[in-house]
């Protein structure tokens, strides 16, 4: 038996269905690795091994008894701690929710539970998903499995570290401005942000409601497609949920892996690392990106540069819109109905208790964004900041719409740099925000975007981003699978096998 914790999820599903392994065996293999390695890695905020093994036993019993079980039954899974899970502690990385056990499941958690997946635990994250390094977690530092002195990306950094480090076969992340794609890129994973509205937000602790989407973080493109299909689809409990059939994604990934991209029109976004827009980008990232564009051409794609001038303003627009929505969303943490309450001594009134609770319960980045959002929404500044940012959002969407007249997908690096050292940007919010430069346009326009590994720079993973029109997520998977297959064939191994081949926690 090869090592179960390096087997991709699709293969695990096949082994489980064929009866070659049991869900208990797979689950125990992961729990053993979590016990041995998560003190150093810091990927999880909560692990309940007993509950996981109980679920696994039920799946094994059902399978042995001939009860119909789905293709995902028995495959372990990690959920970002922003996903509400019934009876399982959920903090969103914040002290204000420490110890809270939600009374219900998020729609995606319920769907994955019903599919028979085994919840290993909840993964670390930047507090309320605000950050690009997971250092804004109120609980612990998460390290990059490729180099323990470096960040795993964020805000879904616990999920990226868990999957890249072999402590989960796959995981769910959420992406508001890049929080699936950037951590996937810097840890060598596949990460996909679905079309806005195609995965239910019911039960995701809201950060910026017009941008938040949940999606898969996995070792392979096919795994991402399978996990995405399992969580997608209309949900009456989310009023922004799109009422259309679940997209066919795994089939797109399989077709893509055949490697024929003849006729595919690819646009390389000038404003994201192209001529005159290379400030802040690592040379190694740009080199891997250029090689991967050439690889697309060799697979038959027609490549041309595409200019999207409004993308230059995506970062300022995002850092007005997201904090504004956050300042409103986070008003629900008032110390009344759930979570922390501070200073309730019978003497202080509600206003004082609320201010003390929020002061103690929120970390610095959350406070900064609440204050910024409050400012951007305040009378006298609304038009110049929030209103203007929403108009820029329209311009960004128009740039995409214009591009789709000429190309099928747009591509760029996923993030301007490889993973940086822990601590390097914590005191400089602007430098931290720059990590999202390439991922923000797709977020603001609501279009799907995937990050797929495209090589190493300085011994660290680099991500390649593929963006597609709304509801054309299948194009992201098809192109990503073609790249993955071509690179795997040239390398003679999977991308993450390079990590397994070297000493733990040290960059080459």
């Amino acid at each position: 038996m090869s090592d179960l914790t390096s087997t991709d999820a699709a293969e695990l599903g096949r082994l489980l269905t064929a009866g070659e392994v049991t869900a208990v065996e797979v689950t125990r293999a992961y729990l053993d690795r979590i016990a041995a390695e998560d003190d150093a890695l810091g990927a999880y905020l909560h692990v309940d091994g007993e509950a996981a093994l109980r679920t696994a036993e039920q799946v094994d019993a059902a399978r042995a008894g001939g009860t119909a079980t789905g293709p995902l039954a028995g495959i372990p899974l990690a959920l970002k701690d922003v996903v509400v899970t019934e009876g399982v502690p959920t903090t969103s990385g914040s002290k204000i929710l420490e110890g809270w056990r939600p009374p219900y499941d998020a729609t995606l958690a319920a769907r994955l539970k019903n599919a028979g997946t085994v919840l290993l635990g909840k993964t670390n994250m930047d507090e309320f998903a605000m950050g690009s390094s997971t250092e804004n977690s109120a609980y612990r530092v998460t390290r990059n499995p490729w180099d323990h002195d470096r960040i795993p990306g964020g805000s879904s950094g616990g999920s990226s570290a868990a999957v890249a480090g072999g402590l989960a076969p796959w995981a769910i992340g959420t992406d508001t401005g890049g929080s699936i794609r950037q951590p996937a890129a810097v840890t060598g994973l596949v990460g996909h942000k679905p079309t806005y509205g195609s995965v239910s937000r019911y039960g995701l602790i809201a950060f910026s409601s017009s941008l938040d989407q949940a999606g898969p973080m996995t070792r392979t493109v096919l795994d991402a497609a399978l996990l995405h299909e399992a969580i997608a689809g209309h949900d009456p409990l989310d009023s922004t949920s799109i009422d259309s059939p679940v997209p066919v994604l795994a089939e797109a990934a399989r077709r893509g892996a055949e490697g024929d991209l003849a006729g595919l029109r690819v646009g390389v976004v000038t404003e994201l690392g192209g001529d005159g827009h290379t400030d802040g980008y690592d040379e190694g990232v740009l080199a891997r990106f250029a090689e991967t564009v050439a690889l697309l051409e060799s697979l038959g794609a027609e490549v041309r540069p595409v200019s999207c001038p409004a993308f230059d303003l995506a970062l300022p627009a995002y850092y007005l819109i997201a904090p504004s929505e956050a300042s409103s969303n986070l008003a629900r943490f008032d110390g009344v109905r759930y979570g922390l309450r501070v200073g309730d001594d019978g003497d202080r009134d509600l206003d004082e208790v609320m201010a003390l609770t929020r002061e103690q319960g929120f970390g610095p980045e959350v406070k900064r964004r609440i204050i910024l959002g409050t400012y951007a929404l305040s009378s006298g500044y609304y038009d110049a900041y929030y209103g203007q940012a929403q108009k820029v959002r329209t311009l960004i969407t128009r740039d995409f719409t214009r591009a789709w007249d000429d190309v099928d997908v747009l591509v760029s690096p996923t993030s301007p740099t490889v993973a940086w050292e822990v601590g390097a940007r914590v005191d400089d919010p602007i430098a931290m925000y720059a990590a999202d430069l390439c991922t923000l346009p797709a977020s603001l326009a609501g279009v799907p975007a995937i990050s797929v590994p495209c090589g190493l720079s300085e011994g660290l993973p680099v991500g390649f981003q593929i963006m597609a029109p709304a509801l054309a997520d299948d194009r992201c998977y098809k192109v990503a699978a073609a790249l993955e297959a071509a690179q795997d064939a040239a390398r003679g191994s999977r991308f993450l096998d390079q990590l397994a081949a070297r000493p733990a926690g040290s960059a080459a």
Binding site: P103, T240, P316, D349, Y375
Partner: protein
């Protein structure tokens, strides 16, 4: 719309006022830190003012938003005990809250 002309950074007093509006009892140290950091962030985000947006409508949502209705039928709520178990303080089957009105109100 032109770039907001804020050569002056967010003052400490402005940050204190915004924190109060947002119900954050920030400390003096935080006021010093945030005033500087938020000034830098504000300079960066003010670049949205560079865009020519004459006649450009705002986008509030990436997908078209329409009112969503459902049948007006009663559905089960969460069990009361399950909800109260997550509340910071409960009494007599209800969430207990700090007093809302001052003595003089």
């Amino acid at each position: 719309m032109s770039t907001p002309s804020r050569k002056d950074r967010l003052t400490r007093d402005e940050v204190a006022h915004l924190a109060h509006l947002a119900r954050l009892a920030v400390t003096d140290e935080e006021l010093d830190l945030f005033a500087g950091q938020l000034g830098a962030v504000l300079d960066a985000v003010a670049q949205v003012g560079r865009a020519d947006v004459a006649d450009v409508p705002p986008t509030t949502h990436a997908v078209p938003m329409t009112n969503v209705f459902r049948e007006d039928v009663a559905r089960p709520s969460l069990p009361r005990d399950a909800v109260l178990a997550g509340a910071p303080a409960a009494e007599d089957g209800r969430i207990r809250v700090p007093r809302i009105l001052g003595e003089g109100a």
